[in-house]
Structures are given as structure tokens and as C-alpha cells.
């Protein structure tokens, strides 16, 4: 009886071991171990020199005037001329894309030299002027970098600027209550100092990508 039990236990033990081992292998093989966005951005850098999406032979940077967070007129083309301008349309109540983009740019900007930082301008245009008061805009942007410029305009004006840049107009779902979400383009547009081309940075752009591209853009 004892021998039979031991023999059965041995077979059962091996069977258990095989089942556990196979399950572990199956579990691991069922999980994709890759970071797909990485290779895409790096591949772009190999072909164009930029990890962002390069758009060549484009119009000069847009010409528009909006109001900054101090209530003064801000002429985008005139104020950013000769500088690297990063333009983004978002809103301060955004729970994900906007703060991530702003935090990434701010973190990498701090790594640049003072001279390089002086030659760039980061402009955030709110697509939600109703909730993004000048005070709110200033306070929110200061959390990332006090030099970031916050601009406001009427919804119609901001939408027309976005459409002019080939971006879809923002969608404000005000029926969803006071915490309504705003659907908006998630890319940052970079205008190099010399214009002539622009580089698009979709959501998913990482600090390593900004660190790679910003010094190159500043030289153009």
C-alpha cells in the first residue's frame, strides 16, 4: 500500500510540476514584452533626425493674437520670432494628456542651458476659456514652469486657429456637468527658429524624445 502511494505521488508530483511549468510558460508567452512606441520614434530619428513627426516645407508659424494670463495681448508670431516655439492646445482641467505633456517639456527644459532656455517659448492655448480663467491658467502653468505662456481667446477664435493648423476643433461636452471633459488635439507643434518646417509631437512623446529633439530644433 505504501509503495503504491509513493509511486502514485511521484507520478502526480511530476504531473504537477509539468502543469505548473507549462502554465508559467503559457502565462509569459501570452504577455507581449515590448514597448512599441519606442522603436517608432527612434526609427523616425534615424530617417529624419527627429523623434517627432517632421512636416517639411510648411507655412511660417501662424499669425494670431490672443490674450495672455496677465490680460495683455500676445502676438504669437511676433513674440516667438527667432525662437523655438512649442504650441499646444489644451485645458487645465485635463486629467491626463495636458499635464503629462507640460510636465515632460518642463522637465527637459530644465536640463537645457540658460541660453537655450532663453531661445525657446512654450505656449499653451486653452480650449476651455470658460473654466480656465487667467488666474487659473497662470497658477496651473506655474506648477510646471513660470515661463510657460498661457493664452485665452473666444472658443470660436481658438477653434479657427486650430483648424488653420490642420487640427480638429475642440469638443466641449458641457452637458456632462461642471467637470465636463473637452476633446482636443493631443499633439504639441514645434516651430523651429528659422521656420520652414514643423515637428509634431503626439501624446506618447517621452522626455527622452524631447531631450533628443530640442537641442536639434534650437539649432535650426
Amino acid at each position: 500500500m505504501k509503495r503504491v502511494r509513493r509511486s502514485t505521488g511521484g507520478v502526480a508530483g511530476r504531473a504537477h510540476a509539468i502543469v505548473v511549468f507549462t502554465a508559467c510558460l503559457g502565462l509569459l508567452s501570452a504577455c507581449r514584452v515590448e514597448a512599441p512606441e519606442r522603436s517608432e520614434a527612434e526609427e523616425r530619428a534615424r530617417t529624419t533626425g527627429y523623434r517627432g513627426i517632421l512636416l517639411e516645407d510648411t507655412d511660417p508659424r501662424p499669425d494670431f493674437v490672443l490674450t495672455d494670463a496677465r490680460g495683455e495681448a500676445f502676438d504669437f508670431r511676433a513674440e516667438t520670432e527667432g525662437k523655438l516655439a512649442l504650441l499646444f492646445f489644451g485645458y487645465t482641467f485635463c486629467p491626463d494628456v495636458c499635464p503629462v505633456h507640460m510636465a515632460s517639456i518642463a522637465a527637459v527644459k530644465r536640463d537645457l542651458s540658460v541660453e537655450e532656455q532663453r531661445r525657446m517659448s512654450i505656449v499653451f492655448v486653452t480650449v476651455d476659456p470658460e473654466r480656465d480663467t487667467p488666474e487659473r491658467l497662470r497658477e496651473w502653468l506655474s506648477n510646471f514652469d513660470p515661463s510657460f505662456v498661457g493664452l485665452r481667446g473666444t472658443e470660436a477664435r481658438v477653434d479657427s486657429i486650430m483648424l488653420g493648423l490642420g487640427l480638429p476643433a475642440a469638443i466641449r461636452d458641457t452637458t456632462a456637468g461642471p467637470d465636463y471633459p473637452v476633446g482636443h488635439a493631443s499633439q504639441v507643434i514645434a516651430f523651429p527658429p528659422g521656420d520652414g518646417f514643423r515637428v509634431i509631437y503626439p501624446f506618447g512623446t517621452r522626455q527622452a524624445d524631447w531631450k533628443h529633439d530640442l537641442p536639434r530644433l534650437l539649432k535650426k
Partner: protein
Amino acid sequence: MSGLQWWCSAQTAAWTSNPRPFPGVWVLVVLLAVLHWSLRRAGGGERIQKETRAWFGGVLALWIALDWPVGALAGYLASAHMLQYLLTALVAPPLLLLGVPAGAWRRLASRARTVRALRFLTHPLIALAIFQVTLYYTHLPSVVDGLMVTPLGSFALDTLWLLGGLVFWWPVVAPVPQRPGFGYPLKMGYLFLCTLVNTLPYAFLTFGELPFYGIYELAPPVGILGPREDQQLAGLLMKVGGGLILWTAITIQFFVWFRREGEAEGPAPAA
């Protein structure tokens, strides 16, 4: 948006403080409770208050690590992910091993083949190597970014940590197989070695110039921590938190050794 998930994983939706259920974690907790009951029965139903406390301490550590809020936060913050690692790989395994009743160990010791396999697998050098490979592999950016995005992948990571932890702690805590040559001083050395080996990932995380993990860098922000600060905190947790656990274990080994030596020498003769 995120619906019901059976296991925690990285999220693209903003963090909310509303509790979220992870049924897979609850099933694990119940299974571990049942396992303890069956181990106890297999051991002849002896009174094992100390073992039961240790076992359920281990289960509690796993529960805290994997359920809301730590489990959910681990989808947003590298530091929460590290806390999960510490609880799953360094706290729960020794408690679970200490919670196995003596009767179950005796039964295990009677299975020659299993003991032979364990003797090899839990040889201190092999165990340390397995644990370190697990530690390094499960903290590679491509692995974390690839696995943490699905509940299955996240479950695989947690399973690897738990299994790696069990293998690592086995030679220190488990009485089977017996290793007379691996006494308290060597156990202390073994644990000390582990505090040194985790220095490399700690240094990468703490002193890395850029965030390593895409899922944490691009996750909706939680609190005031930016991705770089969060990563530094994760590195510090690994070094300080991990060090604290290992040094506590070293200290316990020392005092047990000290007491046993005293017992072996017997009472001091009266003057």
C-alpha cells in the same frame, strides 16, 4: 474607461480615490486561506498558533500589495509598483514559509524526489541567482512597459516576484531540505549579499537622468510627484525599504543564533 478588472494593471484613465475591486486578488486570498487549512490538516491538525499568525501575515502583505489602493496606484506610480514588489517578494514569502505547519514540512521531507529537487533549486547560490535574475528582469523597462498594461501581464509580474521571493527565502526560513552547513552566520552573509546586489537597479532608478518606464512617465498624474521624482522615490524604496527588511531578517538571525549558542552552552556554573 476602465471597467471591472480581475487584476490591477496600468491605466490610461485618470486616478480616482473611488475603491476598485480586483476579484482575482480576493480569489488568491481565499485560495491561500484554503491552502493553509489543507496544510494544517495534512500535518495532523496540530495547534499551530504561531504558524497561523505568520501565514496570515503573509497573506495580509499580499493582499495589501495587490488590492486597492496599492495595487491600483501601481498602475500609475513607479513608487507604488516598488512598494508592491517589496511586499510581494520580500515580506510575504518568508511569512508564508514560516506559516507552514511542522507536520506539512515532515510530509514534504518524506518525499525524496521533491527534496532532491528542492535541494538544488534552493541551494543558496542558486536561490540568490534566481532571485536576482527575477529582480533585474522584472524591473527592465521593456518588461514593465510590456507586462503592466494588461491584468494578465501584471499578474505574471506579481507571480514571478512571489515565486522568486519564495525561492530566495527558502534556504533562510524553510527546515526542508536540511542544510547543516548553512548555519546562522552564512544565512546572515546570504542576506547581506542580497542587500548589495540590489544596488544596481537602485542606482539606475535613483540617479537615472530620465524616466525609464513609459507607463509611469505617461500615466495620468497622481498627486504632486512628477515622473522623475516618482522614479527616485521608487529607487529609494528599493534600497531603504528592501534594506530595512533584509537587515531586520539579519538581526533576527543574529539573535536566534545568539540564543541557540547560549542554550547549547547551558547555564553558567554557580560561583
